[in-house]
Symmetry: C2
Subunit: 308 residues, 2 copies
């Protein structure tokens, strides 16, 4: 842990150019929104199957949610308390034909049409695990619960960096139970993750981390989080000149979600939770960065581990 990450990225082609020229990603007019080509999607699909194989005997409850969640659940989660700058809430038109006509004129004139839309009950999913907690109200069974989820997530941090998309897929394993159960779950995954990335021949190293909390109080929250070792990330080299990039995170929430959504262990205490997230696009980017932009050039061992 904390060992230096050996850089094996290929310097000959800049990342973005390589991705676009090889049809892996397709730029759009909006920073952070990318189209994905066939080979990129084959690799993402193969990563999902690798995780399927890895987790098959864990006995997780399989759930899938759409890229929007109910606003009441979002509010209850306190995501906006910690990360107001990253969340997205859906607004929709409300009004009659006259109002519609005015809105359309405003749009055609290139003006601000936000006065014509109102907040709906839908919020963009901020992390794949969020909709799970809302399903847990009440008392957990003995040994708690384990979930497997995956969805498109939204983070409003527009950037030209393909490793920082506003809409990206996150696969997660989510554990709810006693502190000992969820800590054991998280620790075991830090080991499993290293093994998975070894099979992909991607140099990766776990490190303590903190979330990008907002504002004045954010620095303190981040320090506390680091001090209590609540968050770890698995770091890889996607960019040559910059800090390493997190492709996985291992998060211990203590009883935050148990309290917020009202679920307890059989002894009546607010349950603790932890989640382990795979950033699917970032893992794909790390594969292309490490092994090249064409699958044909990838090492045989990686191709047989991944079967893209």
């Amino acid at each position: 842990m904390g060992a230096p990450i050996v850089s094996r990225v290929r310097p000959e082609t800049p990342l973005l150019e390589g991705l676009v020229e090889n049809g892996l990603l397709v730029p759009t007019k909006c920073q952070g929104i990318w189209g994905r080509g066939a080979v990129f999607e084959r690799v993402v699909g193969a990563i999902e199957r690798l995780i399927d194989d890895e987790t098959r005997s864990d006995g997780a409850s399989f759930l899938r949610f759409p890229p929007v969640i109910p606003r009441p659940d979002f509010e209850r989660s306190e995501f906006a308390k910690a990360f107001p700058h990253l969340g997205g809430v859906v607004h929709a038109f409300v009004g009659d034909s006259d109002r519609h006509h005015q809105m359309q004129e405003r749009i055609e004139a290139g003006g601000d049409w936000s006065e014509f839309v109102k907040m709906t009950d839908c919020v963009l999913t901020p992390a794949a695990c969020y909709p799970v907690y809302a399903t847990l109200e009440g008392v957990l069974p003995e040994q708690g619960r384990l979930f497997d989820v995956s969805s498109y997530c939204f983070r409003h941090e527009p950037s030209s960096d393909p490793a920082r998309m506003v809409a990206f897929r996150m696969r997660e394993q989510v554990r709810a139970g006693t502190p000992a159960e969820v800590m054991a779950f998280r620790e075991s995954w830090i080991v499993r993750a290293r093994d998975l990335f070894e099979r992909l021949d991607i140099p990766a190293s776990p490190a303590p981390a903190s979330d990008p909390f907002f504002g004045r109080g954010g620095r303190l929250l981040a320090l506390t989080q680091a001090e209590q070792r609540l968050k770890f990330e698995l770091l890889v080299r996607i960019h040559l000149d910059e800090q390493p990039t997190a492709v996985m995170s291992f998060n211990y929430h203590q009883d935050h979600f148990g309290r917020a959504f009202g679920f307890t262990t059989p002894d009546g205490a607010a349950a603790h939770t932890a989640c382990v997230g795979f950033g699917l696009e970032r893992i794909a980017l790390a594969l292309f960065r490490t092994h090249g932009f064409a699958l044909e050039g990838w090492p045989g061992a990686v191709l047989s581990a991944l079967k893209p």
Copy 2:
């Protein structure tokens, strides 16, 4: 075409109860947002593979986009002109720590916090084909283009009906070219679709249709659309007592997108487009409705066609 659809739905279990009791769908606090269970997702995955097999030799360009598209593309598409009531635009917090504090207080008090968020450059994807048109600027090659896309789409029409989700997946084949090319494409798909649904043993019938245009002018637009036979749907019985439900649509846009996004055929004329959409959740619902809530009870021929 237009022949009555034989009803083979099973009246013994109401649809919603059957779906929820069998773990196929998981309700949330928000109408139209549903979790999906393992078997539901196996069936959706099998429908995607059936479409993969059906289309493999068509030579389509494969593209995948996230559930949000750039607002400039949304505005250019004129979706909000026709369907202002269905679109969703993403708003996000802008401000400093004080403003954040005020917003958080408002959220905790259960109040309206919309004054703290501003319109972003991201709009929920209204249909899977929309991001394609923005990639086509310029002159199409001879014989035009064919695309295969699939994504989560958003329609703001909250309902307790599981066949009317606010977030659902749409797989589409999209053709751009001369009027003759795109009409031939659309006609061929009406035939292919019937054959596909025969293999699934789901009684289905194509019928002329019109879109749910908004407001005073909407009725006229719908009449014109029907008169010009621009839209067809493939209808099945999901509800016993109500109108049949569209599981596919076959849409001829004339030169709407060619003009809006500036792409032409080699002779310089604005290109015409058509799209054929599969409503993946609705097809899955039709399968469960027709063949029962447990895969074990499905006819052998359906299981071998679909391999769920």
